[in-house]
Amino acid sequence: MSQQRKAVALISGGLDSMLAAKVVMDQGIQVEGINFFTGFCVEGHTHAIRKKDSDKPKRNNSLWVAEQLGIKLHIIDIIEEYKQVLLNPKHGYGANMNPCLDCKIFMVNKAKQWMTEHSFDFIITGEVIGQRPMSQRKQTMPIVAAESGADDLLLRPLCAQNLPVTLAEQEGWIDRAKLFNFSGRSRKPQMALAKQYGLSDYAQPAGGCCFLTDESYSLKLVDLWRARGERDYDLDDVMLLKVGRHIRPKPHFKLIIAREDGESRFMSGYKKDFISMNCASHRGPLVLVDGKPSEDDLLLAGQILARYGQGRDAEQVDVTIRDQLGVERNIEVKPLSADQILEEWFI
């Protein structure tokens, strides 16, 4: 009796990785999924925070895909290790702060480690040649395989026929003729294959799965590093860059202003870490103050905060300032007018 071969599939929660796993499962291979959490994954977070998104499903797509496929999924926290990828990418950044090629190399390398530790035989990804401008090009596919150390252990079922034969095909565990030759940015072949498998509900493929591909998010991250004088971050930084309106009136402090109740509720969990402010005399948002503001700076912060509350047209607004120990005091401010909040303050 032949040995049951096992493959670990990188499952992002999108259609391509789902199809790649399915194609290999259909050839009798036992597949388990692996999903890496960098901290920058779009999955769930902002939906959980923002009230306006509360009607959207909060499902985690990688878990959902695993359940549809009937496979186990291992979600792995790589937040700390990922810092080196983001801070020092050998292959540089994409259009924003996205180190896509280094990221893919890192994840495939981690999958190889997992594969070895768990006695699996090869690795599957949903990559397609030409699908993405940085990490999924004909020139970069061999780089991912080589620099991750996976080499011929890495099978990309959706475009395998365009690539050199891998170990799984060579050994006859996988029939190359039943793999695919997809290439380019068109989604039609994947959608046709999904239809063939009877899959109609899947995460929309065009959306990015990483905040680092987002221009606005990347600008806030770079601003954070510049203000602190060092390129470093922790998970709370990553989370707070996803919420609120970020305004930096002076280089040494910025305000994070909640845009709605959901964000206010989320940000109130950070009151012990930041000076926080809110309007006492009118309805208004919660503000966190990041940096080392002087008394004059706090007055300016109060004026900006008042602009975003219901007292924006009032002559005077009472603002509560709360330190990290919870000690409160009130100040009176005149809200800034819209044109007094300079465009260059917005991050």
């Binding site: 999903n35 959490f37 994954c41 999955e43 769930g44 977070h45 939906h47 959980a48 925070i49 499903p57 909060k58 499902r59 985690n60 990688s62 878990l63 959902w64 695993a66 359940e67 496979i71 186990k72 999924l73 291992h74 979600i75 792995i76 926290d77 989370m239 969990g269």
Partner: protein, 75 residues
């Protein structure tokens, strides 16, 4: 059988799932784990994770704004 409690308040998905997964690795079949969270996404994600991995969800409830999931570890 032992009973364990995991506090993952303030963490957003998928971190509560990851912490649950890591905690379950330290438990034995039949042990009961109560996970206390503030992200409503866990009400979908942790039961999904349990179904995938064969663990049994004994209870889900909202308790004073916290989302609480009680699960039994499978063999």
């Amino acid at each position: 059988m032992s009973v364990a409690v995991l506090n993952v308040r303030r963490l957003l998905c998928p971190l509560p799932v990851i912490r649950t997964q890591d905690k379950v690795k330290t438990l034995k079949p039949g042990d009961v784990l109560t996970v206390e969270c503030t992200d409503p996404g866990v009400m979908q994600d942790i039961p999904a994770w349990c179904r995938i991995n064969g663990h049994k969800v004994l209870e889900t409830r909202v308790d004073n704004g916290d989302y609480v999931i009680v699960l039994e570890v499978s063999g």
